[in-house]
């Protein structure tokens, strides 16, 4: 008897309800023992038709919906949409300087909190629960600050077309400065707790390597792209708002734990970006001028006919809003391009031949947020 033993691939489901996918994402895995042979991401479980809803609400009425596109960094989504509408209306230059600075401060604060969740969740998926709790404790302070500014903790709806809804409360700037001084120390502490931990580094290093060329081919954006060593940041390369007046660096991956573009590089880019955001906010706090916070905008907006695409750098990368206007009170077509989607599309490629447990590391390091993925 020489007939070989037949082995079959075992198809298993990971998700839709899985503790490490942080949202409703499903992966159909074909496994060969513990090794993934094929990984097929199944998106669409959180599809709420936000792009279609836009066609039936007013231009201002869509701003609260952008909060829900990516609830981990609602402020950045607000900013992206509002700046797109402003570009469509041709009123970019009318925005008061103070409003621009407020927008940058709040969106960078939100970037810190988003990265804190991303890093904390990645740690938690790897079995280190403590750093996640530390990060959530710090995020609570940011939530407090943003709540002070706009009255909500998660779905802010603070940035509006033409500026920001209301001026910052008097104590906001001093409290923010206080928080940054405190947080800078905490970041280093948490780094010592987890990021420099040899066991953690060994777990993340050399896993799911994305070479620079592959990152460009798959259209990765944001920290995932920079993790592969490509220095591209919309804030620097296509500056919007007041980013051209601010001095900050773009952290990129350098293969500090092993190969360039592995999970640890993507992770450390986020840690470095937190530090850069602190730097940006400090400069803004120094430079912020007094004055108006909102340009005069009619209560019924009817942008001229035409279309516009505007991109901003959100924590999950290059988020673009495409707007098509027929000169009516609501958009004729709206399309949102998000970073999570391209992050998801690269998973089948990099997840081939890795352990099932490493897929969790991949999802954690790519920082995929399910509602942004499906919109």
């Amino acid at each position: 008897m020489t007939s070989a033993l037949k082995t079959e691939y075992l198809t298993i489901n990971m998700g839709p309800q899985h503790p490490s996918t942080h949202g409703v994402i499903r992966f159909i895995l074909k496994t060969d023992g513990e090794i993934i042979y094929e990984c097929d991401p199944d998106v669409g479980y959180l599809h709420r038709g936000i792009e279609k809803i836009a066609e039936s609400v007013t231009w201002q009425g869509f701003v609260p919906y952008t909060d829900r596109v990516d609830y981990v960094c609602a402020m950045n989504s607000n900013l992206s949409y509002c700046m797109a509408v402003e570009k469509l209306m041709g009123m970019e230059t009318e925005i008061p300087k103070r409003a621009e600075y407020i927008r940058v401060i709040v969106s960078e604060l939100n970037r810190i909190s988003s990265h804190a969740v991303a890093i904390g969740a990645a740690d938690m998926d790897m079995g280190a629960f403590t750093p996640f709790v530390h990060f959530l404790r710090e995020r609570e302070h940011i939530n407090d600050l943003l709540e002070m500014a706009c009255g909500a903790r998660l779905t802010y709806n603070y940035i509006c077309i033409g500026g920001v809804h209301n001026d910052l409360p008097p104590a906001f700037l001093s409290k923010t400065a206080e928080f940054l001084d405190h947080f800078e120390i905490v970041v280093e502490q948490i780094n010592r707790l987890i990021s420099y931990n040899q066991i953690f580094i060994k777990r993340f290093a050399n896993v799911a390597v994305v070479p620079p060329k592959m990152a460009i081919d798959y259209n990765l954006v944001g920290p995932n792209l920079r993790g592969s060593g490509i220095k591209f940041d919309v804030r620097k390369d296509k500056p919007y708002s007041v980013y051209s007046d601010l001095d900050f660096d773009i952290p990129i991956g350098s293969g500090r734990a092993g190969t360039l573009g592995d999970c640890y590089d993507r992770y450390m880019v986020r840690v470095e970006e937190i530090r850069e955001s602190i730097k940006i906010i400090r400069q803004c706090l120094k430079q912020i001028p007094a004055g108006e916070t909102k340009a005069i905008v009619k209560s019924t907006i009817k942008p001229p006919k035409g279309h516009v695409y505007f991109r901003t750098e959100t924590p999950r990368g290059d988020t673009g809003y495409f707007l098509y206007s027929d000169g009516k009170t609501s958009p004729t077509r709206l399309k949102i391009r998000t970073g999570s989607f391209t992050g998801m599309s690269i998973i089948p490629e990099i997840a081939r031949g890795v352990f099932i447990a490493d897929l969790v590391a991949i999802i954690g390091s790519l920082d995929i947020v399910a509602p942004e993925l499906d919109r």
């Binding site: 701003v63 609260p64 931990n197 040899q198």
Partner: protein, 210 residues
Amino acid sequence: MGAYFQNIKDGFTTAFEGMSISFATMFVRKETVQYPEVDISSNATIAEKYKGSLMGMPENYRGILDVDLSLCTACQICQKACPIDCIVIDNIKCDKTKLSDGDGSPVLNRFTQKEALKTRTVTRFDINAAKCMYCGLCEKACPTSAIRHTNQFEMNRESQEELILRFVSDDVKATAEKRASEIEAEAAAKKAAKAKKAQEEKAKEKGAEE
């Protein structure tokens, strides 16, 4: 082989470094707010029982909506501003009145800075608190600040029906409708009188011509 033992050694030292930080956290002030026991409604009340550094609710917190009907001009701007149509307003004619505060000073329109005039009154002002997404667009659109967010956020009810806040009671609605029909009748009577007068004058003119 040396690298293997080096790894183990590094693993141990960095893990112990992490543990030292975890240990130090035991002596840091606790940040958790024991919510129902601690009153979080403002910075002053939270400080009574809570020793951490988190803040209480700010004054501009966006909680459940409240409407001050004495300031409402039934203009329906909030209804149009709401992206999810959770506000329903019906209105009818009423006596022309100038809105005034409690102390008698006139209420100004926030946008035009003119005195707010009330020519219609609401017979129905429903806000569906279950549907509302607390975005604050109605509050920002209201010219007289009649609709506003409160600090209230606890609202457990047994059914969805009870989550619809009805600000106009049936009695108020009935009196408003009665008054509206009276106004209509008065207006109709005035119109009829005017028409009659005009007819009489016409007839007079005709008579004079003849």
